[in-house]
Amino acid sequence: MKKNKAKKSSKMNGLPWILPAFIFVVGIIYYSIFYTFDLSTLNWNGLDPIQTKVGISNYTKVFSDWVFWKAITNTIVYFIVTFLVQNFLGFIFAAILHTKVKLATLHKCLIFIPTILAPATMAPVFRLLFSPQGLLQDIFNVFHLGITVDWLSKSNSALIILMMIAVWQFTGMSFILYYAAMSQIDKEMLEASHLDGAGNIRTLFNMVLPNCKGTIISLAMLGIIGALKTFDIPYLVTTGGPNHATEFLGTYIYRQGIRQSHLGYAAAISVVLLVLAICGALLINRMNKGEES
């Protein structure tokens, strides 16, 4: 019966409905991707009438470029740390705001506002905040702690600061998702757990956390994509420095392609990034399928 109906409505031809969007997306994106492949075999600055074909030598250069590997390690470290911290905080915030606390809306807004503000707008604020002229330094001075806030100019601390900024920016996202997931948990199940004598914290980690598995996977996907896309904050706060300590693939592609006019080389890094992004998508798709079955 149902099949029959589906068949009837499927007689209407849908091609004209999807074609405009399809041509638009495929036209722009596939054009860019194939053109990137083409550019990646050239030694070219993007303007010169002379282009030199260099085959795969841009790629061999990429894989022996220490800055590229630095960018890859930074991306991995950045993903793991921000994912863990952000999810922990978001989860705890969601649980606390599900109890009857005072001023819940105010807290919710404060956590969520960073997710909607443009990183480009906030970048000058962070440059000041983490400089000796900033608010943190003032606070440390009040307590005579003798700490100098110059972390952005030190290569061993700059990445940590960028990760803190990312956590500040995206906790609201994980908070909102955990909050929504927790609203859907069966209340009777929680009651039963309480009757069994389990305390709030045990219930939270033994009953609630496993129920948020889907949310964790979604956030992992957003985290991986986000880490691969990272550009605005490192570009604007540290310009990838000092000495490439906060270099990411995005900032390195920009540095090579636009700043130094090595367009072919930038295209080769872009191709590697593309492969990584597709691998990330496939990996998550698999995790998701494993979850369903």
Binding site: T99, V101, I113, L117, A123
Partner: protein
Amino acid sequence: MFEVRSLKNKVILQIILLLMTIPYAIPLVQMFLGSLGGTGFSNYKAVWDTGVVPTYFRNSLIITAGVIILVYIFSMTAGFGFAKLHIFGKEVFFWMILIALTLPEVIMLSPLFVTFQKMHMFNTFWAVILPSAALQLPFSILLARNFATGIPDELMEAARIDGANVRSMFWYIILPLTKPIASSIIVLTFINAWNSYLLPLLFLQSPSMQTVTLLPQYFQGEFTNDQTKILAAAVITAIPEIIVYLSMQKNFEKGMSAGALK
């Protein structure tokens, strides 16, 4: 949902929450205090008197509106087509769009840089609108399709028996019933387009065409690193966004969470 009964625990929880939230407020406090450094509120006057702020806002509005219109039209029609209509090789089309779901925009930097230069598209809004919309569409189409799939076939059948053609089904059934997902798509697109930085940085080099995300850089040149004025500009840029969020809080939260659900 979780009950905390004793007063002592309630107070402890409230304090923990406060301590956890304070770090989230610090950058906002820094932004505001920093903008008042030196000459106080006249920093704002100095920023406003340059006369460029409305231009930057106008440009951001035009670009954001352009992206939203394209994404809305294309995602609604394609979502309907993929969910409800017969298309030969539908899965292939869908899969080809979905591949672009996780594409970082920086990948398009080299090819678009060359292409837009050849086509003299630098300093046009299209150079930002077209790639932004194309990058936003795969996910929006996925959302719209998933949502439209949930609309009962019986409804479409009944309309068809009443003599409705595909276009009126789209107009009178799909569009009204997909409003919730449409609002999520619009919110997500709005945030991404308004906050977009890389594409305007690359393609909008004339100050009269630039967007609010490039405002700090403009003032860096204008006030030769007078941080207070740059922060005053940041406050001016942030306030409208915060107001839009506060007045549409529910839509924003729903839209952002649609960003993660498949």
